[in-house]
């Protein structure tokens, strides 16, 4: 729909007469991140109170951050896609395909004992695979006008199928250079922060800043908010959509490199629910599936809610399958609260 409001609009109270609350405070309260962050803080407080000696030790924090790193990278891309009112169901499969193609190169160029040259090339292969696959999906969405749900559902199946054809369905041995695993997978920056976490936060920071402060980010919101308006002011909507889907593909490729480095295997069968986990995180972070709203900061919080929940439940000795139940409830509750808030805002 367009920006045109329905007829009864004039009867609304003019929001101009607001109580004298400072504008930064109002914006903070209205920000999606503030609410989601509240949920995260509550969870942390609860688990800390329940198990003061064991929860949130340094080991815990490192572990939570490492487990969340790959989902964070995928989530950053997904944030862009959801803000342009799209969706990408293919992230997990694209990750697998990227991993498999880079593994194939590694296997034929030194395998587990291969050096930095092979690592560099296989990394480039992984990134390029994701980028090209994503751009192709973007092209289908933008130019061929196939709904993103269908394009990426097709992509989800096709990428996984392609990976299985290449490998015969088995995770190949010697898929990763041991050197990559020792440095990036288990290594730590200054012996403190795992490299996976550093990479994830680097990518998050860069693309978070781009989304918040640059023209590319501004146009991302505009297209999700009202694509026709964006087109009329001269934004190349089609090209922008292709770039956004290429970005999420590229980040899936990056995720595959991180996965290989950490787990040392392609895990072909292990990524069928990545898409749902990542979409959950992005929506928990306040992004609207109708487009136009969302932020990378929100996604960061949204990724850490399940991570904290699962660690906390394990420490409390609760069967960890409860995590899925809890996440489901939290997700629906978060979106419901968000709807309430928006109704209040738009009709206040």
């Amino acid at each position: 729909m367009t920006a045109q409001a329905p007829a009864p609009v004039e009867e609304r109270r003019q929001p101009a007469r607001r109580p004298p609350v400072p504008s930064w405070l109002r914006r903070l309260a209205a920000a999606n991140e503030a609410w989601t962050f509240g949920v995260l803080a509550l969870l942390v407080a609860f688990f800390t109170a329940a198990r003061p000696s064991t929860f949130l030790t340094r080991y815990d924090i490192t572990q939570i951050a490492t487990n969340a790193a790959i989902y964070l990278v995928l989530g950053v891309g997904m944030t862009y896609v959801i803000i342009v009112a799209g969706i990408d169901l293919s992230v997990g499969s694209v990750l697998v395909l990227s991993a498999v193609l880079s593994a194939e190169y590694t296997i034929h160029h030194g395998g587990a004992k291969s050096g930095w040259g092979t690592i560099a090339v296989s990394t480039l292969i992984a990134l390029a695979t994701g980028l090209v696959w994503g751009a192709l999906q973007g092209w289908l969405v933008a130019k061929a006008k196939v709904p993103p749900l269908i394009v990426t559902l097709g992509g989800f199946g096709a990428a996984l199928g392609a990976a299985q054809i290449i490998t015969g369905g088995q995770d190949p041995a010697g898929a990763v250079s041991g050197r990559l695993q020792r440095t990036i997978g288990f290594g730590k920056l200054f012996g403190q922060i795992p490299w996976l976490v550093v990479i994830a936060f680097g990518a998050t920071l860069v693309f978070g800043l781009i989304l918040a402060f640059t023209r590319f980010g501004r146009h991302t919101y505009a297209i999700g908010s009202n694509p026709e308006a964006a087109r009329r002011v001269g934004v190349d909507v089609d090209a922008h959509l292709i770039k956004v889907y290429a970005l999420v593909g590229l980040l899936s490729g990056l995720g595959s490199v991180m996965w290989l480095a950490y787990f040392g295997t392609t895990s072909i069968a292990g990524h069928s629910t990545d898409n749902l986990k990542v979409i959950t995180a992005v929506v928990l972070g306040g992004a609207s599936l109708f487009g136009g709203r969302g932020s990378v900061l929100g996604t960061v919080i949204g990724v850490f809610i399940p991570a904290v929940l699962s660690t906390g439940l394990i420490i409390m000795g609760v069967q960890q399958y409860w995590q899925d139940v809890a996440i489901g409830v939290v997700l629906v509750a978060a979106v419901y609260l968000d709807q309430l808030r928006r109704r209040g805002r738009d009709h206040g």
């Binding site: 609009v9 609304r12 001269g234 738009d346």
Partner: protein
């Protein structure tokens, strides 16, 4: 004054079997408010879309300041100083007023950051505040998403965007259709104020009394072509409605305006007598 600011000559546009425009003419002079009226389906929107670069005509010519131009998109029209306030406003509801004002025309930070595409939010806010103040628009917070604004305020944002960048001509497609009485008056005041700055305003409207109160001239479209032109001061609602519906003979109405000459350039228009085609 003699030279038309914008002129359309014999524009034709077909959508399948439907002829939206058939040899449609249109003329706008500097510093006037010209109303474009016509019944539903008369081709008003098609004409506006053609002149603002959104659709391309199958045949015909568009002249800006007397020289023919090719408008291959809204950006082309904007480069010629032509802005449009669309009926649906074309705002992004999730972005704030300042962002909407500068959408597609963002301001950048200086130096390296600017070259990386980093926006200057503060400068855009300042320029938005100035633009709204100039129009006398009461907008407390240019940082609030447009979705939180009232209908009248949204309208103001769309108008302010056009006014801030237009230096020749603004098309306003039914700018008062969704508004209450008070906001309607405010938009019409804005129209007058914009005209007084020397910018031509083309007002598309269904509301005849409104047209007569604000417009200097009226051009009437029927069945995809211009059938009559009036000087607003010398005409009545009955005459306008007659020309719109065809009850009034086109030749006669055309003659009425051709005679008075106050609207500008009889010599420029002489070769093309209205309703002749």
């Amino acid at each position: 004054m003699a030279q038309p600011l914008l002129e359309a000559r014999r524009l034709t546009k077909r959508f399948g079997h439907v002829r939206a425009l058939q040899d449609a003419d249109f003329t706008a002079y500097p510093g006037e408010v010209v109303a474009l009226i016509g019944d539903n389906g008369a081709g008003k929107s098609s004409l506006v879309k053609t002149l603002s670069g959104t659709i391309r005509p199958d045949a015909g010519q568009i002249l800006v300041d007397g020289s023919p131009v090719e408008l291959s998109g809204p950006l082309d029209a904007r480069r010629h100083g032509i802005e449009t306030v669309y009926q649906d406003l074309a705002l992004a509801p999730d972005l704030d007023a300042a962002a909407n004002l500068h959408l597609g025309r963002e301001l950048y930070r200086g130096g390296l950051l600017g070259r990386l595409g980093v926006l200057d939010h503060a400068a855009m806010r300042r320029s938005a505040v100035t633009a709204f103040a100039e129009l006398g628009v009461d907008l407390q917070d240019v940082g609030a998403p447009v979705a939180t604004l009232s209908g009248g305020q949204r309208q103001s944002v769309a108008v302010a965007r056009a006014v801030a960048f237009a230096n020749r001509i603004i098309f306003m497609d039914e700018p008062t259709a969704a508004l209450g009485v008070l906001q309607r008056g405010r938009v019409l005041d804005t129209v007058r104020r914009v005209r007084d700055r020397g910018i031509c305003v083309v007002l598309i409207s269904h509301n005849m009394p409104e047209v007569l109160s604000v417009a200097d001239r009226v051009e009437v479209l029927r069945l995809g072509r211009r059938v009559a032109r009036f000087t607003a001061a010398d005409t009545t609602v009955e005459e306008l409605v007659g020309a719109m519906t065809g009850a009034l003979d086109a030749e006669e109405a055309g003659g009425a305006i051709e005679g008075d000459g106050t609207a500008g350039a009889p010599d420029a228009d002489a070769p093309r007598k209205d309703g002749a085609a």
